[in-house]
């Protein structure tokens, strides 16, 4: 460390609060624009290592007690660096900057709130350049794969606005990339034992496609928490070998299940309801319940106080199935799981869902495939199983075909590539290839009322259909 700074740099100053009376200036915060951005530059020649550029007034030109805009942009280069690491690097900014004594740095991205203490000035702080240099020194010490780093600090109001607008686009693109991340892309999943006091055998497995049951922890949160506190309640789970892609069974998860549940469970399938489902803690936002009468699943959230079609309210089911148990027929989930492409993938996804409270349905409507939206009842359509059955028949719910399949004689016809022309039928949900080992099309009767009709059963089909249009013969 060749550089000498007029302030101490140490992790012990982390969490230091600069009170209003002790502050020299406030930067960003609730009154002024502020942001921080780390950008990976592919061409190392475009980064001048150690360089600091300041656009706008320097610290000593600022009025004591004043509020100013603040933008901090860092350009980094290194052989091992790639754009995907930008968010990870940027997160460290909030870790490193508070190491400076007298420098309060809160929040992140476009919400940063910084205070510089009077003591810092008194002890000899003269320029933002010193702040930038200390920050870059910390980065390079801690993350040696950063080969070159330069900083651009901005305090000019107009320029901050301009660069902030550009940064917003970068954050947005980053968020889109993060949201597009799936279980297949991750090397590790994470476990969470935060609620084990209430659910001692719960094995909460958090993956990119599956938030925690309480809805509070995403895969990204767990990754960050595990890094900060390796002994804490969040830890990596090596995926291991994938035993079943469709149902989401991984050797690593199974091993962890044994360990976390104290031997109670040794298999967990992440994307199923009826086969070795995920354990349910006491904290889940929504519970799903299988209704054998209609061979379909209903979901209810904590805010819905009344009984569901199976006669039980949220609280009773939560009491029965919660506590960290793996209960066939019940499954606690976080609301975000509805939006996951892996949602009940093992059972055919949304086609098995028949009931949701109205408020919850409205909230997650976007998650429901368009052709299923009218087929899922709410309390306005059905409050008991009989009503639900009627509703499902009326809207021709995909599960209705299953009932028919069991009642009627099996007349199987292998499906060929060509779509048969028959009675009017709603569009089929879009399938992904290889995801449906067995699929049954609903039985349909000609609208004339004559008995008969046909039933199609596709077994081990591997087809991709965007739309099937069935028309009655003229």
């Amino acid at each position: 460390m060749a550089e000498e700074f007029p302030f101490e740099i140490s992790p012990m100053y982390e969490g230091e609060r600069v009170r209003k009376g002790d502050m020299y200036v406030e930067l960003g915060g609730s009154t002024k624009d502020g942001f921080e951005l780390v950008q990976v530059v592919d061409d190392p020649n475009e980064v001048e290592d150690g360089k600091v550029t300041l656009i706008g007034p320097d610290i000593l030109d600022m009025e004591e007690g004043g509020f100013y805009p603040y933008g901090m942009i860092y350009k980094v280069a290194g052989e091992q660096l790639e754009t995907d690491l930008e968010a990870v690097l940027e997160r460290r900014h909030h870790e490193f900057q508070p190491y400076m004594q007298g420098y309060m740095h809160l929040n992140q991205r476009y919400d940063i709130w910084v205070r510089i203490s009077k003591d810092m000035i008194k002890n000899g702080l003269k320029s933002f350049e010193q702040i930038a240099k200390a920050t870059m020194m910390l980065y390079k010490n801690e993350l040696p794969f950063i080969e070159k780093m330069e900083a651009i600090y901005i305090t000019d109001e107009e320029k901050v606005k301009e660069e902030l607008a550009k940064a917003m686009e970068i954050y947005k693109a980053r968020d889109e990339r993060a949201r597009a991340m799936h279980d297949e892309d991750a090397d590790v999943f994470y476990g969470c034992t935060l609620c084990q006091a209430f659910a001692p055998t719960s094995v909460c497995v958090v993956t990119p496609d599956r938030t925690s049951l309480c809805g509070a922890m995403t895969w990204f949160d767990c990754r960050a928490a595990a890094k900060v506190d390796p002994e804490g309640p969040n830890f990596p789970i090596e995926k291991g070998e994938c035993l079943d892609e469709l149902k989401g069974e991984y050797t690593g998860v199974n091993e962890k299940a044994v360990e976390l549940s104290g031997g109670e469970y040794d298999r967990i399938m992440l994307y199923t309801f009826m086969e070795y489902p995920h354990t349910s803690c006491g904290c889940f936002e929504v519970i799903g319940f299988y209704m054998p009468e209609v061979q379909a699943i209903g979901w209810v959230d904590r805010n819905f106080p009344a009984a569901t079609p199976n006669g039980l309210p949220f609280s009773s089911m939560a009491g029965q199935a919660g506590g960290g148990k793996q209960t066939l027929g019940f499954l606690g989930i976080g609301i975000q799981y509805f939006f996951s492409p892996k949602f009940l993938q093992g059972e055919g996804g949304w086609t098995t869902t028949a009931w949701l409270p109205k408020d919850l349905k409205d909230r997650i409507l976007e998650a429901i495939p368009e052709d299923m939206r009218d087929k899922i009842a709410t309390e306005e359509d059905a409050t008991d199983v009989t009503q639900l059955m009627e509703f499902m028949k009326k809207v021709n719910h995909p599960m209705v075909a299953k009932w028919a399949a069991e009642e009627e004689e099996e007349v199987e016809e292998a499906a060929e590539a060509a779509a048969p022309e028959a009675a009017a039928m709603p569009q089929m949900p879009m399938m992904q290839p290889g995801m449906m080992p067995q699929m049954q099309l609903p039985a349909f009767a000609p609208s004339g009322g004559a008995a008969g009709g046909i039933k199609l059963v596709l077994k081990n089909a591997n087809i991709k259909v965007e739309k099937i249009i069935l028309k009655k013969k003229e």
């Binding site: 969490g15 609060r17 968020d175």
Partner: protein
Amino acid sequence: MTTIVISGKGGTGKTNIAALLVRILSENKLVLAIDADPDTNLADALGFPVTKTVGDIREGFLDEKDELAPELDKQSYFESRVMSIIEEADRFDIIAMGRPEGPGCYCYANNILRAVIEKLEGNYEMVVIDTEAGLEHLSRRTVRDIDLLLVVSDVSKRGLDTADRIRALANELNIRVKRIAVIANRVRNEHDREKLKNMAEKMNLELIGFIPFDEELAALDLDGLPLTQLKDDSPAFEAVKDLVERLDLN
């Protein structure tokens, strides 16, 4: 850092005592006042009404968690929200915990909150917490080690009974409390003193002070005025000051 928790039966005037303590202690030390009783208002008594509470932030966080950017550092986000609701007086800061939890899951939010509060407390020489007799925030571990648990009683057997229960609860919760003591408030005469002293002795409670009934304080209370207006020579003020000196808190 020294942590003092004020608790006691409702209506004993514990918030007034807490406010006087903050006022007196902050003459020499930097104090963080935590209002952890949703029923009362320490901040009002100190003349710095707070508009937002930690509870509001926690609820807001639980409501908006699904919309937050996926890679956002939630702890730092939460921390900055908490920091933004702190009221800063000259020599002390105030933060209000606000309403208790609703029916949802608070494991994660409270876990973050614990870390944030712990970090915040490290900035002060003294932390004074006004909390209800149920000690909810202590059971949630948003507060860790306590140097002094001061239970305020009025001139009543029930006030002492509550003190007894709080002591039992504190032991049950497994929080480290260095000292638990009782002070009696609104004491009118020698007869009150003697009676309380005897009862406390029988219950094995350490009764360490008497705060006399104070006309001036009662008048401020009646008008909802802050106790920062209470004169330095009023009997209640002097009694609390005397207590601070005897306990060597200055």
